[in-house]
């Protein structure tokens, strides 16, 4: 009887250990086999880092100019506004749907992301004169995935900056149709806007 009891205990422990082993193996197998470019892993981190650098690079290139006094491509894009329709030039009320704007910044985005099958949403956040902030969407390509990354930079708009869309020949301070308003009329600084790019792999 004693021997039989001992054998039963051993069987029970063996069964528990075996079940843990099988369970662990299944979990490990699931982790090992479900590797895609978007799987949460160190490899995916490298892809996200690569996308982060691409987005940062596009913003950096667009916000600096070769010649002093020249308007940067990023500022030109922020000022690419239809003051009558109160939308970005040739865009819908929700921005450019599934495409990039027809300016230097748009060309840069197209060259950087389109061939890589990477989608982009771009938001422009501005300060309100009273308090708080508002946001305009410049580019809308859908809902970002859980693995999307974000890059931001700021652009200073001055009173004398001209709205850059075709057929527009007014400065931001001389029109009421521009989306951002003058936050401090005593200053030459009209507004400081934040450009945010959200990037994800399609």
């Amino acid at each position: 009887m004693f021997q039989t009891d001992e054998s039963g205990q051993a069987h029970a422990i063996e069964a528990i250990a075996a079940s843990i082993l099988v369970l662990s193996t299944v979990i490990f197998a699931i982790q090992a086999t479900a590797i895609t470019p978007l799987t949460v892993s160190t490899s995916n981190q490298h892809i996200e880092t690569q996308q982060q650098r691409m987005a940062d690079g596009v913003l950096s290139n667009a916000k600096y100019t070769e010649t002093t006094g020249e308007t940067s491509a990023l500022k030109e894009a922020v000022l690419y506004w239809n003051t009558d329709k109160k939308v970005f030039y040739n865009a819908s009320a929700d921005g450019y749907l599934g495409k990039y704007p027809d300016n230097d910044f748009g060309d840069s985005l197209n060259e950087t992301f389109s061939d890589q099958r990477i989608a982009t949403n771009i938001y422009v956040t501005y300060e309100r004169p009273s308090d708080g902030s508002g946001t305009k969407q410049m580019v809308d390509m859908g809902n970002p995935s859980d693995n999307s990354i974000t890059a931001t930079t700021n652009v200073v708009i001055y009173n004398h900056d001209e709205v850059s869309a075709p057929d527009e020949s007014t400065t931001v301070e001389d029109t009421s149709g521009y989306f951002a308003k003058d936050v401090n009329p005593a200053s030459n600084v009209y507004n400081v806007v934040e450009v945010r790019i959200v990037v994800w792999r399609i």
Binding site: E6, H11, E14, S133, Y158, V183, V189, V192
Partner: protein
């Protein structure tokens, strides 16, 4: 049965060891991933500091240019406005940074160096202001002694044609001279002897004639002293090479041998002053900040800003950083201000 039981225990032991190994692998994999992930956030905090620094430098440069172009006639107006504009940007960024990342951002203008913006806006000979002398046609004169010379341009509409068959042409040709603590430096501006172009030369040949080193595309010229170009063409020398430390004395010779316009932004500080006549001690440039009246084709000095020093302090969970940014737009390397930290 005893042997069977022992075998079962060994088997169970083996299974337990295998389970432990797999668990260990899973845990280590998680640790590696967590380590990798946790180190990703730090560069983004650094990137924000770099981005803010770049924005502040660019903003300082743009507002200095904007305010200098207003040509205020009251001392320190430009400096106050530059400070106000940078503070406006600071306020906007600080609020946004705190909301987005919980970081405090403090941007403080530590110093604004005053300047004279000396201009001759209408085309004319490069003579001293008549009002200072009380008589006309003074063509060899000092513009100012300054703590730094930057953002300097000259447009030339005509200049004396240099005749290489003569000797000592350099003494009859327009000359811009900069003197520092070590030595002086000169550039001669003249019409090319055979081509209808404006030429620059910093050396003189054995006959005492200036040597052509670079030239314009046609009979007029746009000279950028910072980039040291004429009509965008590079010259083989730099502005004020080898003059040493400031203050710098800026002087014109033979101003009746050239016509055009010019602009110099000249830093103010200890030992600096607008040029004075040797005998009467009158100003050679109409200083509007002292109430002098101006004539369009004569030199006039307006209130200006030479440079700013701004400290950007960031404090957050990931990073604490203090960065100091000195901005003096388009300042050549040989005539720098003593204000630089």
């Amino acid at each position: 049965m005893r042997n069977d039981s022992r075998g079962q225990l060994i088997l169970v032991g083996g299974v337990v060891v295998a389970t432990l190994l797999i668990t260990l692998v899973l845990i280590l994999n998680g640790v590696l991933f967590t380590e990798n992930f946790s180190t990703r956030d730090q560069p983004q905090a650094i990137d924000r500091v770099v981005d803010t620094g770049g924005l502040i430098e660019g903003t300082a440069s743009e507002v200095i240019d904007m305010e200098n172009s207003e040509r205020y006639e009251s001392r320190a107006d430009t400096a106050q406005n530059v400070d106000r504009d940078i503070q406006q940007v600071s306020q906007s960024l600080s609020e946004r940074r705190f909301e987005a990342h919980g970081e405090t951002l403090n941007i403080e203008v530590n110093n604004v160096q005053d300047a004279w913006t000396v201009v001759q806006t209408d085309e004319g000979e490069f003579q001293a202001a008549e009002s200072g002398f009380g008589f006309d046609n003074v063509y060899g004169w000092e513009i100012a002694t300054a703590d730094g010379i930057r953002d300097s341009h000259t447009t030339v509409t005509s200049a004396r044609e240099m005749d290489p068959s003569n000797t000592s042409e350099a003494s009859r040709t327009f000359q811009l001279e900069v003197t520092g603590s070590s030595s002086d430096w000169s550039v001669w501006i003249f019409e090319h002897p055979s081509r209808n172009t404006i030429a620059l030369g910093t050396t003189v040949d054995s006959d005492g004639n200036p040597v052509v080193e670079c030239e314009s595309d046609d009979g007029t010229a746009d000279i950028d002293w910072n980039e040291m170009t004429i009509d965008g063409n590079d010259c083989p020398f730099k502005f004020a090479e080898g003059v040493g430390e400031g203050p710098y004395e800026l002087r014109f010779h033979e101003g009746d041998e050239i016509t055009g316009t010019y602009k110099f932004v000249l830093g103010r500080g200890p030992g600096t002053e607008i040029g004075l006549t040797p005998v009467t001690g009158e100003r050679t440039v109409a200083d509007t900040t002292k109430g002098d009246s101006t004539v369009a084709d004569e030199p006039a000095a307006y209130d200006g800003v030479y440079s700013t020093t701004v400290t950007v302090s960031t404090a957050g969970e990931d990073l604490t950083a203090d960065s100091v940014f000195f901005t003096a737009p388009r300042q050549p390397g040989n005539t720098t201000s003593g204000e630089k930290p």
